[in-house]
Symmetry: C2
Subunit: 361 residues, 2 copies
Amino acid sequence: MDLKIAVLAGDGIGPEIMEQGVAVLSAVAEKFGHNVSYKEALCGAHAIDEVGDPFPEETYKTCEEADAVLFASVGDPKFDNDPTAKVRPEQGLLAMRKKLGLFANIRPVTTFDCLVHKSPLKDSIVKGADFICIRELTGGMYFGKKQEPAVNADGIEDALDTNYYSRPEVERILKVGYQYARQRRKHLTVVDKANVLASSRLWRKIAQELAPQYPDVETDFMYVDNAAMRMIQDPRFFDVMVTENTFGDILTDEGSCITGSMGLLPSASTGSSTPVFEPIHGSWPQGKGLNIANPLAQILSVAMLFEHFGLKEEGALVRKAVDASLDQNVRTPEIQVEGGAEYGTKEVGAWIVNYINGVVR
Amino acid sequence: MDLKIAVLAGDGIGPEIMEQGVAVLSAVAEKFGHNVSYKEALCGAHAIDEVGDPFPEETYKTCEEADAVLFASVGDPKFDNDPTAKVRPEQGLLAMRKKLGLFANIRPVTTFDCLVHKSPLKDSIVKGADFICIRELTGGMYFGKKQEPAVNADGIEDALDTNYYSRPEVERILKVGYQYARQRRKHLTVVDKANVLASSRLWRKIAQELAPQYPDVETDFMYVDNAAMRMIQDPRFFDVMVTENTFGDILTDEGSCITGSMGLLPSASTGSSTPVFEPIHGSWPQGKGLNIANPLAQILSVAMLFEHFGLKEEGALVRKAVDASLDQNVRTPEIQVEGGAEYGTKEVGAWIVNYINGVVR
Ligand SMILES: CC(C)[C@H](C(=O)O)[C@@H](O)C(=O)O
Ligand SMILES: CC(C)[C@H](C(=O)O)[C@@H](O)C(=O)O
């Protein structure tokens, strides 16, 4: 297969973990005879510094022309103090989502047995948890009509956001949910707040219409407050969960921290144009340049990338290599066992590449 | 002190736990020479069945005329399947909040050492966690303009909710946050999504203006997705957290389940009219009539009621009695230690009344 990859390394530890992601991608591609080409592009704080835009037009073009985007992370502390600043790295993220039509954000929550002790949850509760959060990514309050803080006609300062959803937006993301559920344990949980929100009542109405078309999948409905609890009390309940943008922002982050393997979780965002694959973690500016960042989430994003194109064996090999590195304690400091040697970002990446090449096993 | 209490027992286990709450209230009042009178009123599913309205006008009047409302819980499974039904028990809750102007929902998250093993979190993470979630309760998407699902002019079905906040609404709830923080560890965390939402930018702007007026309190800002994680990873970080209605719905429920003592957590809702005191848990219809529901959250709501009126000793005595009952394993089944005798709702309540009366200790 020919694969054109747009490489958006971004800020902080981004470039370091990206280097390892690309190395793994190349090693697997070579082994299986795929022809991969890469094109780097600016994004995030980095791009603001260089061209004044966190997602420049040229980056957009590079993404659009590619088959897939491999993304690392964006964000810089110098933008942290003023969330109202006009140009911010996050806006690059939002622009990328909107321009590439990335309406489906797919976040697997996977528990690695060897890291369960790192989970804030009791081992007995979290062990074996394995679900997918699907978050609608281009609708809701993120992109609905806003009114910034301003004094109104009555002399009162106010502000508003609009949580808007239309049937096509809801239908397509629910269908993504059903597709994933079908490939897994056939259980879809639709998370909403239909007892309060009109937009949620639209979601629920449409889900109730779609459910009979997927008789092999068990559909259930859960209020978002309940889902936030259930995820902690009984994470194994979930197989595939689907929800709207704002609820998804909260629940996917909650989900990502219950397994104790935040540095290992990849994600995919798909939609009408080029799909994007990225770690769920941030740019960790404090770790920058120290060769201590965990590259596994980036590397597992490569696995998701292969799988997206139907390249199952390729994806499986990446996962096998990651599992082997964990089993053999080839780990970055934050997940290393007590007394274990600490491997750097590069060393973990190199070991995985060697594994793929059959040099170590 | 003269205290007129409106008693809203509601549905499911409500009447059973209310009986114990009232017994404890009366015992303490008698001991301290307060003059308490009670008036019962209908609410919830029960009220729908009897008068077709989950928060009838008469109930509203009873509440308005009282000094405080002691509330138990509402909800019945027969209403669960259709969140779009016109008359539902939750609407009673929302009507009560709006009509009584209950803009501040105060939910202490307390860890009981003897129940930490029941927490889904590792003991080492949750032990000693002790914070208060303050949720704005009469604004945001709950009460903003809605459009129910309908086909629009372009022939597309859509729906929307409006997340509206005005300066007075935000100011008054932030001030409640500061008041609580002052009485505690002097740390206020304002939770918002100011990097995305205009309404959150209003919250943050106002909080940034208010902060210098409370130089003794450390104010910090946290995005809601981050707060959902932090609460699990490091719950002891929080002292007082304040947030808007929808985020608060999710975060307070998340908070309530991290301590393992969901059946023990009370709450207060205060505002422009009569304050309401109630357990955070629901009506648990399955437990109804079995004398197995834990009355402690209801009883601790009585403690909050006393404290609201500045009756600190009275509140402290209720808390001491509850602690004593736990220490001596006078507990309902779900929190009883292995091999311990199981006490019923009534027996736990009676023991606490006896403790207050000095009959047991
Ligand atoms: C940075 C922010 C705008 C973003 C979001 O809220 O979507 C982030 O939290 C995420 O989840 O990817
Ligand atoms: C029942 C529902 C309307 C209510 C809410 O969302 O406020 C409940 O979840 C709560 O938190 O009290």
